[in-house]
Symmetry: C2
């Protein structure tokens, strides 16, 4: 049987009691380590679980002849996923493979950034679709997120922006030469995201398709959501271009506000504002009662 | 200190190890029992935690002179919430009250229906805003959900519909007479929801505002998401009007599909279809490549 187990967002104690019971009795334990990361190292998990944990990179999980599913018809295999089991497409794909091999599948849910972001005080039913922001390069600045944000903002909805992580990536040169040498992991920060968002708006404005948001649009930067060191800073997109030091270590996420807001949200967030007066001024001018 | 702790979706073992540690050492433990319910009774929780658990109904939580926060500046109080701590507006309100009293607040996230619904195989980034469906009465059939679904479907997005629960409700007569007699709890089912959705579409069609969805729109009925007896049934809205027996006990939820779909979603869901041929036929005709 394949057990897909969410292990939550921050440390080894975020696993549920149900999940831990399973991890302690299965035959093999894998940790999916490329769509997100925990804030602690594998050895901390291994000590806590009392089990060896095999790191499953993208290659291993997406490979057709999948070692994870080997003998899983008779043995029990745990596949640990940071956050909730079904946050990433990859995992539904793994279930489909298992079904084809007649391997039974169970899953244990856990906290996901999609709901934990409620700790900002923003009402979860006022969120539209979630978007992803990737690291831009000189030649690659994908802007599809902009259209999604437009859809959300047209309905007055907040947008959660999930930020790129690069784990076990090869440089183009190493890839071309077939060298399995990997770059240092990189995690996008709130300020990098805010800068990229404004850059795309500028490009769109040039061709007459901009103005979905601007430097004065309100947003919330979030760091290490769900952990003891969770931190929120809110302000204009321009202000959020300079908050990385204050937010601290990864992982970061960003929420761009929609106009369908509630006074409670303003009050709740004010405590986290870069500049409380500015926050309330722009909220009152552009958000309150505007949807 | 006030600790707001998510306890997950189904039974006593869905609490995280971190959450359980806190519950076992605080001075008082409350369980919020009116915005959602666990599938097990309070006494099961009390046995598992080794603690008395005080049931907090709406009156207690929303009351200004709040016993939950009493002495919480010096004592530790745990406030348990089914699912994730910030799923309901009420709880941000409680945090704001605590802040005013200079009581420190921490929260422990957990699984929420908003992310656990990913177990249907539907991609979570293709969901728009979440809506709620209340029990209609002869004189009260609120249709605001319809406009929200329209916004989601205009962008091709899925809609999660959360279904009403009535816990500790008074009849109008008992309320009028000030008698604290409460009705049996009621939980809306998938079929009740599908029927109400079609009824509103019919009304809207009469005034020329209908057609956002129809009897042949595809949807997924979900029961006891996140538990060992989790069950999904998918089909047209018309088919879902007759699936309550097959789905079984509460809690139920429903997802109305948007057209921005992925072939993996079709394949994943087919296994749960009332009629697999019909499912694939309508998917191919109305959904695949239509966004």
């Amino acid at each position: 049987m394949l057990h897909i187990i969410g292990i939550g967002l921050s440390d080894e104690t975020d696993i549920t009691v149900k999940g831990l019971d399973i991890v302690r009795r299965v035959d093999r334990v894998y940790l999916e380590a490329y769509t997100s990361i925990l804030l602690v190292d594998r050895c901390v998990l291994e000590n806590f679980y009392g089990r060896d944990v095999i790191i499953a990179d993208r290659e291993m999980v997406e490979c057709d002849d999948n070692q994870i599913l080997q003998d899983a018809k008779t043995l029990d295999v745990a596949f640990l996923v940071v956050g909730d089991p079904f946050g990433a497409t990859t995992h539904t794909d793994l279930v489909l493979r298992a079904r084809k091999l007649n391997i039974r599948v169970s899953s244990v849910p856990n906290a996901s950034i999609l709901s934990a972001i409620g700790a900002t005080g923003l009402q979860l039913y006022n969120f539209g679709q979630t978007v992803s922001m990737v690291f831009f390069t000189e030649t690659w600045m994908p802007a599809s997120f902009y259209d999604r944000i437009k859809e959300n903002r047209d309905s007055g909805l907040h947008t959660l922006v999930l930020l790129d992580i690069k784990v076990k990536e090869q440089s183009l040169e190493n890839m071309a030469r077939g060298r399995k040498i990997y770059e240092e992991p990189r995690y996008m920060t709130v300020s990098q995201c805010a800068l990229q968002m404004l850059a795309i708006d500028e490009k769109k404005t040039v061709i007459g398709e901009g103005g979905i948001y601007n430097e004065e649009s309100l947003a919330v930067g979030a760091a290490r959501v769900g952990s003891k060191t969770e931190k929120f800073i809110c302000g204009t997109l321009k202000q959020l271009c300079h908050v990385d030091e204050a937010l601290g270590k990864p992982l970061h996420s960003l929420v761009l506000l929609g106009q369908r807001t509630h006074e409670l949200e303003c009050e709740y967030l004010k405590e986290f504002a870069v500049d409380q007066d500015e926050w309330v001024k722009i909220w009152t001018r552009d958000y309150s009662g505007k949807s």
